[in-house]
Amino acid sequence: MAAEPIIEVRDLDMAFPVRGGPGGKTVIQQVLHKLNFDIAPGETLGLVGESGSGKSTAGRILVGLYEPTGGSVKLFGQSITGAQRQHGLAAVRSRLQFVFQDPHAALNPRMRVGDSIAEPIAIAGGRTRRDRADRVRELLEMVGLPRDGAERFPHEFSGGQRQRIVIARALALQPGFIVCDEPVSALDVSIQAQIVNLLMDLQQKFGLSYLFIAHDLAVVRAIAHRVAVLYAGSIVEVAPKDELYGDPQHPYTRALLDAVPRADPDRVRGPVLGGEVPSLLAPPPGCRFHTRCPHVMPRCRTDIPALRVTTPGRHVACHLYA
């Protein structure tokens, strides 16, 4: 992966004002804190974390749905933050796409499937109606659906088939980068594998880059090249897949991997991690994981650990590795 990254995220911050402080006051919720990561062409970066980790917000920032409150994001060499935001987004929009978690909400129920797939083309302008129809049939075939599906409405398809339609729409403009936000977590296990395989095949065929957001570590292992672990808005570890799963370094990554149930009735699991993800309205000082960490040290309660290189290609934010 020596190639120049197509996605560069530097010190990304995101904060939302929310009502819900003491006395119904508006308070600032720091959803993301100083994220840094790159994605190379043809690479899949897995972004894992539990609810409230901010993984979905990060994905939405990368396709321009939210404007971050700090830091910079460069896509295909164009900045989509700060003063160049509008110009940058206009330049890269056709190369960005998004695949949603819930295939039932991702398609307009009143539009024919063909029109939904063709929508990005129609918005970008260009191509005649007949050209678009040809392209739609080609896309349907690409994702393993019959060509005559275009005339039907979303309710006539199963969940897995709808997810294929969403993927077809994402491919309509030949994008370079797709954010997949929990694309298989709403699907049945036997259908999940079909979609994961389809995404991998399409990546091979078109050299796509993915940000693959998921809470399911096993699915991420199947598709990602590198994995970043988020906890309460901060990246705690980034590593190539084999290293992360084979030798997790951050205590949270270890606990997370240990908590996943395995299809092995004889497995003896380690002690269960106690506690819950802290509120982002009043995050604990220092390392945000220190309230649950089995290796907590005094300085964890005061100093925020920086993301440091431990071995080439691996980054961990933990005082154990300082």
């Binding site: 539009m111 918005i123 199963s158 088939q161």
Partner: protein, 290 residues
């Protein structure tokens, strides 16, 4: 690596006309649609009685219902059946136009309010202010100002029923605009107009349609009330409301003058309400069965 694997592309059998099928399976919808259709056909066929609705025949004053005058006649000897049928044209027309007009205006304002936050607060306060008047008083004021004509009744009732439509559309638009398919359009760079008219409006339409059937029914009732108060459709043009208003003075001697248009109003209101209930049950996703 293998080539793209195609999982057996078997589609489920087509589910066509699902909505219509579900509607027709709904009992009160069926009754409602039959009632409303019968009334509408009767109104269209009004000329078949062969009598002018305002033809006065002094010989036949105050005839009670009989084979000759099915619904009797009034103080001018006019045939009530004919007047009720022509009145149905006016009353149903007013109801339909008010429902459509207030629905369309409400939909457009509602979607704009949901899409443009700056527009939202002032518009909604205005709607709140309008809703703080009883609809019938508001309509009374407007018809009084515009002069008693059918057009004024339509405008007055449309204005009176717009705020409720705005609220309904805005509420469902606020939900729809956060749905993933709208986000997908945004990611692709869709314009506000496209998002509003391709995505939000068609998907906020269900609750509005239900509301419109009720407005249809209310408008028929409201027209009758306005006519009764003398600011509605003016005689000699018959409407259900003004036939009743004219029959008021003879209520004890010639009950049939008031009763038959009254039955017309009741049947229309009942039919439309049943129809609206059916639409609501079928269109509201929260009420859908497993």
């Amino acid at each position: 690596m293998t080539d793209v694997v195609i999982a057996a592309p078997i589609l489920a059998p087509r589910k066509r006309f699902q909505l219509i099928r579900r509607l027709l399976a709904h009992r009160s919808f069926r009754i409602g649609i039959v009632l409303v259709t019968v009334l509408a056909i009767a109104a269209i066929l009004a000329p078949l009685t062969g009598i002018e609705p305002s033809a006065m025949r002094v010989r036949f004053r105050f005839r009670p219902p009989s084979p000759e005058f099915l619904m009797g006649s009034d103080n001018f000897g006019r045939d009530i059946l004919t007047r009720v049928l022509y009145g149905a044209r006016v009353s149903l027309w007013i109801g339909l136009v008010v429902a459509l007009l207030s629905g369309i205006v409400g939909a457009v304002i509602g979607v704009f309010a949901a899409q443009f936050r700056a527009f939202d607060a002032p518009v909604m306060r205005l709607m709140d202010a309008m809703m703080s008047f009883p609809a019938i008083l508001l309509a009374l004021g407007i018809t009084a100002a515009l002069g008693p004509r059918m057009e004024s009744v339509i405008i007055a009732l449309s204005v009176a029923y717009v705020p409720a439509g705005v609220r309904i559309v805005r509420a469902s638009a606020l939900v729809v605009r956060e749905l993933d398919y709208v986000q997908a359009a945004r990611i692709a760079g869709a314009s506000n107009a496209r998002i509003m008219f391709h995505h939000i409006l068609p998907n906020s339409f269900g609750p509005l349609l239900v509301h419109m059937t009720f407005v249809f029914a209310y408008s028929i009732l409201a027209e009758a009330a306005l006519s009764f108060l003398g600011v509605g459709v003016q005689p000699p043009t018959p409407s259900w409301g003004n036939i009743i208003a004219e029959g008021r003075d003879f209520a004890t001697e010639a009950w049939w003058i008031m009763v038959f248009p009254g039955i017309g109003i009741s049947l229309a209101a009942l039919g439309l309400n049943l129809l609206g209930d059916g639409l609501r049950d079928v269109l509201d996703p929260r009420l859908k069965g497993a």
